[in-house]
Symmetry: C2
Subunit: 296 residues, 2 copies
């Protein structure tokens, strides 16, 4: 039996519709949530991501401001920019598109963002609240994955989740989140990585596999227990001369073989990607409500 | 074959000797590391822990100041006390003995400690640096466990570590630490808890088991793979009329049965307990060196 295809775009659209209702209610009180995205340099992929985020904001009524800075900008210039955004009443969330050019100390910039406007959830203070089990802003991709599992009928509570990859954007925070005692998580979590011996022995046991190691097509059918749920977080560019651009994006999962074994599988593109953007929008609305409604 | 008994006291003594050499060198420059311990109320166990920590400090040349406050102290009074300690040049580390009496907002007190003096590693900023893989102060018990494993010849790199318990003091931070890519960690980590189904199926696979769920004698021989390394973090008081006090402290491991199966096992008392204190001393010396030597 072929796997259920977990449609991340559809679930993300559902979340955006819910957010739009909240935003309309805020707007009726004269409050317009605002997100500032800072783009430094001319990396085409970064520019594309920022455009996608800005466009997603505008579609549901979030004010979006993209601030482009030259790649020769100094660390101090970027830092001053952030300090200014921290003070702006109309900006609820601040987003620094990674990677920053050389010469800019990215961790120092991340710490400059006010934790209450840190909708990416990368400030150490927010990462600490996450580890301490009382999160304010959860990082967008892990939050999107938790939502995707639950809204597609695969609540991870009581399940064995095997995460492949201990990256700071996905694997590590997701492991902490999924092991937490909430009705949407509460999973037994195994975190595998490049230091893991016999990785197949873990993936074959998993009820849910999250592939986030950044290796194109790494997870193959023989590594998956029949009926398991597979979430693909990878976005790897591979050469493909049959495509107009000479390349295409694939996930960490060998989709064609795994879909014949898995119970459900999220595709790339159209799986975790749209959920990451929906989670960012959700965090922005949350930031707006906390900062502006609590003041009133 | 009976298990190796992992002697936490011996390993802790070794660390303290190493620290004493560092402290003597600091003292020869006129720098005396200082730890302030704040004890609120009259919980006898808390008073005992604080005395043990203060005594351990004094033995190796760390200045130790115990500040006792009445249990009727207000939140603001404790907060003011911390603000004062943050400013004191002679105090490198600040320790608030948990639990605090009702009426005091413990998370708010924790946030008041300056992250550079947070030698317990519980400030969200330090917890966040830990999750982000660039720790400043690691919480004492997990740090003590990583040291204990390595110094007793059981480097967890490449091993499957199963942690029982997702507490904020041990399980969760330890899972993040053990999965990190360092030559002392780099383990594949499974985090089990009260929401885990069939917990034996995980413990039976483990090369290393860390029992930190707070259930007296929970881990029994049938749950352990022959030759596995077992670290017992539990400290549970149980009634025992054959003891003068009518009670005694036992771990989360059924020591007598497990030691016949395990390759190595840490006892309670005399295992993780002394290592927790050694790790606290180590963090205090680290705090002193960072704050005072970098200034010069």
């Amino acid at each position: 039996m072929a796997a259920q295809i977990i449609d991340g775009k559809k679930v993300a659209d559902q979340i955006k519709e819910e957010l739009k209702i909240e935003i309309d209610a805020l707007r009726s009180k004269g409050i317009v949530p605002g997100l500032a995205a800072v783009l430094v340099g001319d990396n085409p992929a970064s520019a594309l991501y920022v455009r996608m985020k800005a466009s997603a904001c505008e579609k549901i009524g979030i004010f979006s401001e993209v601030i482009k800075k030259d790649k020769s900008s100094s660390h101090d210039q970027i830092q001053e920019l952030i300090v200014g955004l921290n003070k702006r009443e109309d900006i609820d969330g601040i987003l620094i598109q990674s990677p920053l050019p050389e010469g800019i100390n990215e961790p120092a910039i991340t710490v400059t963002i006010h934790p209450a406007k840190d909708v990416d959830g990368f400030h150490p203070f927010n990462q600490g609240l996450l580890l301490a089990g009382r999160p304010l802003f959860e990082p967008a991709t892990p939050l999107g994955i938790v939502e995707l599992l639950n809204r597609s009928g695969h609540n991870p509570a009581g399940k064995h989740v095997v995460i492949l990859g201990r990256g700071l954007l996905v694997g590590k925070p997701l492991a902490t989140m999924l092991a937490s005692k909430t009705s949407f998580t509460n999973a037994t979590v195994t975190l595998c990585h490049t230091g893991t011996k016999d990785i197949v022995s873990y993936t074959r046991q998993a009820d849910i596999i999250i592939a986030a190691m950044g290796k194109a097509g790494f997870l193959t059918a023989d590594m998956v227990k029949p009926g398991a749920i597979v979430i693909d977080v990878g976005t790897n560019e591979i050469a493909d001369l049959t495509h107009p651009k000479g390349k295409r994006v694939v996930g960490d999962v060998d989709f064609e073989s795994v879909k014949a074994v898995a119970g459900a599988i999220s595709p790339v593109p159209g799986g975790v990607g749209p959920m990451t953007i929906a989670a960012l929008l959700s965090n922005t609305v949350k930031a707006c409500k906390i900062r502006r409604l609590l003041k009133q």
